[in-house]
């Protein structure tokens, strides 16, 4: 059928995360908070992060109003940053961006991307790449603001 070619985009992990996103409950009194919107499509991301005494991510709240790629990315991102320091998150974000630009081969040594590698298939659909980047840019905005950049 005509839709078989889409299996690379809509991998099972993406559909599962999209249907049942992790860490989607909003958090009260977060240390880090940020909101992102994609003006071209109207998608929205709302992010809250609570840090522990060592400055590591203790809890994440991430609410996405958007397509399956956007929702799945947000869900995977929220799981991937749990327990990480902000510096480690910077590295993870850089690796994710590199993967979306150069492909999954370019980040083979980044085991911490884990499920996020499922999103490398989005590269074949250039108009959808922005869907996979909104949560990351929102996270980056939040961390920058927290650091006072």
């Amino acid at each position: 059928m005509a839709l078989e070619g889409l299996d690379e985009l809509y991998r099972d992990a993406i559909l599962e995360h999209s249907r049942s996103p992790l860490n989607h409950e909003p958090l009260a009194n977060p240390h880090i908070t940020a909101d992102g919107v994609n003006p071209f499509c109207g998608d929205e991301v709302h992010l809250q992060i609570l840090l522990d005494e060592n400055g590591r991510v203790a809890r994440v709240g991430l609410q996405v109003e958007g397509c399956s790629i956007n929702r799945a990315t947000g869900s995977m991102l929220s799981a991937a940053i749990l327990g990480k320091s902000l510096e480690e998150i910077d590295g993870l974000a850089a690796a994710f961006n590199e993967m979306m630009k150069d492909g999954v081969e370019a980040v083979r040594d980044r085991a911490d991307l884990s499920e996020l590698t499922a999103l490398s298939g989005v590269r074949a659909f250039p108009v959808r790449i922005k869907c996979a980047l909104l949560s990351w840019s929102t996270l980056d905005d939040g961390i920058r603001e927290y650091r006072g950049d």
């Binding site: 839709l3 889409l6 659909f125």
Partner: protein
């Protein structure tokens, strides 16, 4: 599968014959025949329009108005002939009322930057509707901020039409301008612009109509509507991109100050002052988009040959067919009037589980082009309670077969997306 009979032709012209005039309709997308249902964004172009551009560039490309040589005169004649065709098409009394712009947006901005700056005073009200495209909203927000004017809105009713129960408290003697969309690009709703224009006239307000979606699809008569301004785009009505039209009632235009200044729009220039040229050149500074104006003339010839009454009837039939077919789709909400007598050929819909962008990708894979998103109507999307919709929009070359393919395509997409065991 549906058992409705497939008719070869709807309306009063033969769609299969029309389709032969549009070269692009024979291409494949992802190996499937193209089903082009994004006409509210831009229409496809018939061979006659494409050829008119080639003909201009190959035979008489030249700058207009200033030259005494043959090519320049031919180009000038062809562009002014196109202006006359536009005037005739919307029943304007004179071609001098037709100003070339790039598109609807530029036409509205021209009025906002000239007429409105002069006439909107602090406390004056500009009335819009709740279903405006950003292009007939943002320019007026800026005018209001700069002049102290106030924006007011005719609300959307539950039935997908404007709620006019409070019209007399919204269009009042404080109203200086009523600017309204004729046909909604997001819902298809056809507003009662003639009735609303009469309300505005009765309180002494000026009237602007955003005809981006109506002029390509309905007979529009500016004399009958009694509007001061009408804006529309060539590319949505079989013409090229980059050419649009602002119609201004002659006596209003005569009293308007120029927008852009420079060449072509002046009569006499000294080092320290200039006098303005005659209409409509006064509003067309610089070399105009000659080729695409001529192409728009060719598009109007094509639409005239079909007949705008027939275009409307064809699309109303197709819309009725589609509204009926969409009832088969579970968990799909259709927005708008859901009445072919009150809407143009636009079906805007939403599925509770499958986001419009995913649906758009899944339909594209089947060769079906639709638009997904907020359609440049973000306030309206908030009113509807969704961030985005999927929109199918029809034109002269679309058929009931294609509506069937859309409905089947949506069903296939929903199966693919909501069936957790698709590759188990």
């Amino acid at each position: 599968m549906r058992e409705a009979p497939v008719r070869e032709a709807t309306g009063m012209f033969d769609v299969s014959k029309v389709r032969e005039d549009f070269p692009i309709l024979s291409r494949l997308v992802h190996g499937q025949p193209l089903v082009y249902l994004d006409n509210a964004a831009t229409s496809q172009k018939p061979r006659s329009v494409i050829n008119s551009l080639v003909d201009y560039y190959e035979r008489y490309n030249s700058n207009v108005h200033r030259g005494v040589h043959t090519l320049s005169m031919e180009a000038t004649d062809a562009m002014e002939e196109a202006r006359q065709k536009v005037a005739d098409f919307i029943k304007a009394e004179t071609p001098e009322s037709i100003i070339w712009t790039r598109n609807t947006t530029e036409a509205i901005n021209l009025v906002a930057n000239t007429w409105a700056r002069e006439h909107i005073k602090p406390g004056d009200e500009i009335v819009l509707t709740a279903i405006e495209h950003h292009s007939n909203l943002v320019p007026w927000q800026r005018v209001a901020a700069e002049t102290g004017g106030v924006l007011r809105f005719l609300p959307l009713g539950e039935d997908g039409n404007l709620d006019l129960s409070d019209v007399d408290s919204i269009i009042t003697p404080r109203t200086r301008l009523l600017s309204m969309v004729h046909m909604s690009n997001s819902l298809g709703t056809i507003n009662p612009v003639k009735e609303l224009a009469a309300h505005a006239r009765a309180v002494g307000a000026a009237v602007m109509i955003d005809g981006a979606q109506s002029v390509p699809h309905l007979p529009v008569d500016v004399s009958d509507l009694d509007c001061d301004f009408l804006a529309f785009s060539g590319h949505k009505m079989l013409g090229p991109t980059g050419i649009g039209v602002l119609y201004v009632k002659r006596d209003v235009l005569e009293r308007m100050e120029p927008f852009l200044t420079g060449g072509e729009m002046v009569l006499e220039v000294s080092y320290d002052r200039a006098s303005w040229n005659d209409l409509p050149m006064r509003f067309e500074a610089g070399t105009p988009n000659i080729a695409d104006a001529i192409g728009l003339g060719a598009a109007i010839d094509y639409l005239d040959a079909l007949g705008m009454e027939n275009v409307r009837e064809h699309e109303a039939e197709l819309t009725g067919y589609a509204l009926n077919a969409f009832q088969e789709l579970e968990d799909v909400d259709v927005f708008g009037p859901k009445d072919p007598a009150r809407q143009g050929g636009i079906i805007s819909f939403h599925h509770s589980e499958v986001h419009p962008h995913d649906l758009g990708t899944l339909l594209d894979r089947q060769g079906i082009a639709v638009r997904t998103g907020h359609h440049c109507t973000m306030p309206l999307m908030r009113t509807l309670g969704v961030a985005a919709t999927t929109r199918a929009s029809f034109y002269v070359y679309n058929s009931e077969d294609e509506v069937d393919m859309l409905v089947d395509g949506v069903q296939e997409a929903l199966r693919y997306f909501t069936d957790g065991s698709r590759r188990a």
